[in-house]
């Protein structure tokens, strides 16, 4: 029977190749993802092991709580810890250092590197602790000297002796380039520009005078690192973490890798989508060929093949195709990994890579998943094949009788859809935190897709009529024939278009969601920001030095400024961490309009260093009211008692859950940098002139900052949405490509079936062009059915997903133009998919087609 499977395969090369290609794409994405992320992991492991080689024990600040959302680096600890460490017996040497985000200003006046990669300032450390190796020049030894990572130096074309501006927590300063550094073996860490300064200068620039971010310790001869770590742990305060050098390397590597983890999950999700779509195509192809092979199977049965043997002939074919395609996909992944890397680079995230790491897990997962998906998709068609009765197929034009399962199909499809919707709602509205919701949402969406795909064979007729009738009016008989062809096998058309439906639903979902995001942010800024001008980082999200506000405030025509600062905090008794906003109470209300729930603008003006304003949604979910006292813990473990004096509606998260004064931000949360600064102008002052003057001040002293009008602020705050959207489009396009291959496959099979009909049309005077048109329009109809269903589902997903966000000011907005454009694109894609099959149909030999056997 296996021989029969293999023979079947080689006889249907094109179809097999197309089917296999769907699996290849999905598997390639899986293996490419693993290879890429494993390579990154291995690189980081190596680097951190290398740079901590001279360190026996490492002392770092302890975060009061883990926070992934609100950013913020762990707070530095006082320099006195170093003295206490040095006093511990067994410590031969110990040195403190600082390392934090800052900006290296490139030749163009902007921060070096890609938009989304941060820059850092590090303090020079004495040997043997220094992680930097100088490939040119030397370490900085004077306050006005700097060493810079090799990648940045070569990107910028700098030479030793050049003057380079570095900007930390205060105004920029110019340094002389004295060294070119490598971080371990790397020219750069994930593309981040790094400036190495002397310790005192680095502390000054990072606003950490008298404090350290880390202390490196070398043990005296004969003292084991673990033993020394234990001693230090006992001697030092609880605000620090003590690890051996090896542990620290592992931890550092883990921290960095965690940043990349979401990339892995994201890519695997897209691989899953591509495979899911591929499964539709495989199912479809097998179903069609089983129908076409009814006769062959029947003869096999007549000759004595058992049902089980027929089953295995089909399953065996799936197994061979699935496995072979998985192997190809696995290797294609090796080629895909650099492409994925390039994709990330395009959106600004540079990933380090060295060699290709193929773990056993990559091989196993790729092969198993690819083979399994193919196998699962072929089970139903294989079961159908077993129902071919021995004599049935010998009759001309025999078709398979629908089985018992067919009667249950519609109820089952409806049940699946409902279950999918229920799971979706459970996932979205169940109040799960981030990752936990992903399971029910993904599962729910998959079930809904399956359910709709099954039901959709009932929708093929009305939809084809709806789409085909205009085609008939426009193109006459070819349009009509295309429509009738689409309708004649509703299950087949449904299955083919369902694959496109999946990809398109996701495309439409992200499109609508992104439009909603943009719209909501626009609206929130439009309603809340009353300042005519805003100062922010040029990248739209990084922090700017706190002193920028004062410098801007001195510019003529500026009536006042209000800095908005952000820091993470944790309220005692509340589970999650909360974003805390800092404002300048005196000027805030003039420049920002709050939608008050309890209180008024005078409440904001009266906000003191012991008071806090709370967002309505936070307050109600934590059962807090005006007058309640809360205690907020900061990252450094400090506890800040505050009294709630008012509540506001938090539109599109323009503020955090809690709002405090900037002095509290500075004193307790150690946040001296601003997210953005609202700038007011004096009555009668020319806004354009004020803006130009502020620009001059910023260029000279705060080159990472820029001043924008309120509309410009809307643009910069929504720009990132477009970046993410295009990233999603690229990955979803894989699923769409697979579904288009599905259309090609179905068309080719259909044309094979309709050889005689096509021949007859040609004999009766149908031209090649008309035959092509019939195929093309059928493809367009199929694509548009998928697009229609996909649009409906995509809109549904967007509505469901936006429900829980409605209270936070998220409002959906339907980009009608874009949605229509997507429909047009789907139709065009249908045309493109039909090119090959149409040509094939047009080339059919008329005589062969009409000459009967």
């Amino acid at each position: 029977m296996l021989a029969a499977s293999l023979k079947g395969l080689s006889e249907r090369k094109l179809r097999t190749a197309l089917t296999a290609f769907a699996v290849v794409l999905g598997v390639a994405l899986i293996s490419g993802t693993y290879i890429l992320t494993d390579t990154i992991s291995r690189t980081f492991d190596g680097v951190f092991t290398q740079v901590t080689k001279g360190i026996d024990v490492s002392i770092t600040p302890r975060k009061a709580f883990n926070d992934t959302n609100q950013g913020g680096s762990p707070p530095a600890f006082p320099a006195s810890v170093l003295d206490r460490a040095k006093a511990v017996p067994g410590v031969e040497r110990a040195a403190g250092g600082v390392f934090d985000q800052a900006s290296v200003i490139g030749k163009d006046g902007d921060r070096v590197g890609a938009q989304s990669t941060p820059n850092f300032v590090a303090s020079d450390e004495p040997a043997p602790f220094n992680p930097f190796r100088y490939v040119q020049g030397r370490a900085p030894s004077a306050p006005d000297e700097v060493a810079i990572d090799r990648k940045t130096v070569s990107d910028e074309g700098w030479k030793l002796g050049d003057r380079v501006k570095v900007l930390g927590r205060s105004a920029a300063r110019t340094y002389t380039l004295v060294g070119v550094a490598k971080f371990g073996d790397l020219n750069s860490v994930a593309g981040a520009g790094i400036a190495v300064l002397t310790l005192p200068e680095a502390q000054r620039v990072l606003d950490k005078v008298g404090r350290f971010d880390s202390i490196d310790v070398k043990a005296a001869p004969g003292v084991a690192p673990a033993q020394l770590a234990e001693r230090l742990r006992r001697a030092l305060p609880g605000s620090v973490t003590v690890r051996t050098g090896t542990e620290q390397a592992r931890q550092d590597s883990k921290d960095v890798k965690e940043g990349f983890d979401f990339i892995k999950v994201l890519l695997l999700v897209f691989a899953g989508v591509a495979l899911f779509v591929g499964a539709f195509m495989i199912f479809n192809t097998f179903s069609i060929t089983i129908a076409q092979r009814t006769r062959e199977l029947s003869i096999l049965r007549t000759l004595g093949a058992s049902r089980r043997q027929v089953l295995w002939a089909v399953v065996g074919e799936a197994l061979v195709v699935g496995f072979a395609a998985s192997v190809v996909g696995l290797f294609a992944g090796i080629g895909l990994a650099p492409a994925l890397e390039a994709l990330f680079k395009a959106v600004g995230a540079e990933l380090p890579s060295g060699g290709t790491v193929i773990e056993a897990r990559t091989v196993v997962v790729s092969l198993v998943v690819g083979t399994l998906v193919t196998l699962l998709a072929s089970v139903a068609p294989a079961a159908r094949a077993t129902r071919v009765a021995p004599i049935e197929g010998v009759r001309e034009g025999a078709t398979l009788a629908p089985g018992r399962a067919a009667r249950l199909k519609t109820p089952a499809a409806i049940a699946l859809s409902l279950l999918g919707v229920a799971l979706l709602l459970f996932g979205v509205l169940g109040g799960h935190s981030g990752g936990a919701a992903l399971g029910p949402i993904g599962g729910g969406a998959a079930l809904l897709f399956l359910g709709v795909a099954l039901v959709s064979s009932k929708l093929v007729k009305p939809l084809s009529t709806g789409i085909g009738n205009p085609l008939e009016s426009a193109f006459g008989v070819t349009g009509q024939l295309a429509r009738e062809n689409a309708i004649r096998n509703p299950g087949r058309t449904a299955g083919t278009s369902a694959a496109l439906m999946v990809g398109l639903a996701l495309v439409i979902f992200v499109t609508i969601f992104a439009a909603g995001l943009r719209h909501s942010i626009d609206q929130a800024i439009g309603k809340s920001v009353t300042a005519p001008l805003v100062v922010e980082n040029k990248d739209g999200w990084s922090l700017i030095p706190g002193s920028t506000a004062a410098a801007v405030g001195r510019v003529e025509g500026v009536s006042g400024t209000s800095s908005i600062r952000l820091a993470p905090g944790k309220v005692a008794g509340a589970g999650s961490t909360d974003g805390i906003t800092g404002i300048d109470p005196a000027t805030f209300s003039q420049l920002f309009h709050l939608e008050w729930k309890k209180g008024s603008d005078s409440t904001a003006r009266a906000l003191t260093d012991t008071g806090a304003l709370a967002s309505e949604s936070w307050a109600s979910s934590h059962d807090k009211h005006v007058g309640d006292r809360i205690v907020v813990r900061t990252q450094s473990g400090r506890e800040v008692p505050l009294t709630i004096t008012g509540t506001y509606k938090n539109n599109a998260h323009s503020l955090g859950d809690l709002t405090v004064t900037n002095p509290v931000m500075e004193r307790d949360f150690a946040q001296r940098q601003a997210q953005y600064i609202l700038v007011g102008t004096k009555p009668g002052a020319d806004v354009g002139q004020v803006k130009a003057q502020v620009e001059r001040v910023l260029d000279a002293r705060y080159p990472t900052a820029e001043i924008v009008t309120k509309d410009g602020f809307k643009d910069t705050q929504t720009k990132w949405v477009n970046g993410i959207l295009s990233f999603f489009y690229v990955l979803l396009s894989l699923a769409v490509i697979v579904s288009l291959l599905g259309i090609v496959n179905t068309l080719v099979l259909a044309i094979y079936e309709r050889t005689r009909e096509i021949g007859m049309i040609r004999a009766l005077g149908g031209s090649r062009r008309q035959v092509k048109r019939i195929v093309r329009y059928e493809s367009v109809i199929t694509a548009l059915i998928g697009a229609t269903l996909g649009t409906v589902l995509g809109i549904f997903f967007a509505i469901v997903a936006s429900r829980p966000l409605a209270s936070e000011g998220f409002s959906l907005s339907f980009p009608v133009g874009t949605l229509l454009l997507l429909l047009v694109l789907a139709a065009v894609a249908g045309m493109v998919a039909a090119i090959g099959p149409a040509r094939r149909a047009a080339r059919l030999d008329v005589l062969k087609a009409v000459a009967y056997e």
């Binding site: 009509q480 004649r488 005689r756 004999a763 005077g765 090649r768 000459a851």
Partner: protein
Amino acid sequence: MDAPLIVSAVDVHRRFGQGETAVNALDGVTVGFPKGQFTAIMGPSGSGKSTLMHILAGLDRPTSGSVAVDGVELPELDDRRLTQLRRDKLGFIFQFFNLLPILTAEENITLPMRLAGRKPDPAWLDELIAKVGLADRRKHKPSELSGGQQQRVAVARALLTRPAVVFADEPTGNLDSKASEEVLQLLRGAVDDYGQTVVMVTHDPSAASFADRIVVLKDGKVVSEGPAGDRSQVVDLMREVA
């Protein structure tokens, strides 16, 4: 025999395959079909009847020789022109698979006209449909029609464009005698009433007896050509040439 020839073939050869296994399906056929007459092509199986018809109808090309339909030399035409010729000047009736299963009877009848981008004359369409006895079956799909009804649809389709000539390859090969007779009567009627030219390939002497003339092929050559006569005369003729 004075009527002008609407279809003529001169020294037509058609060879299939090459070298040792080559088959001369047509081996120098010269034959003419007068306008407004009903001609039957007969001959034993494998004698080249279908091949000749395909070549006359522009569905296949001769290896050598010339073929003209209504004054047009076929071997000189490219595929596009041949298609146009079939659409504008020829009508077809096949033995099997005459109709598109996705179209109704009426849509099948009007298909060639619509492919040509023309609208059928409604009166003529109604008359034809009534003539083939399908007035109450216009909206039926082929699967809902009997074999005889299906062939009558094919006849109506072939006649609708008033083609220069209708080619029929074993149009009754699949039908019982009653249904066959109905189809043949229709063809006969078309010739008598509208002056339609019909060329029909058949095995069946009874079918051939409906024709005005008979052309007999054997081993790719014309072995007899003459008036048809009744069934027994046809049977005698066939026995003679065998």
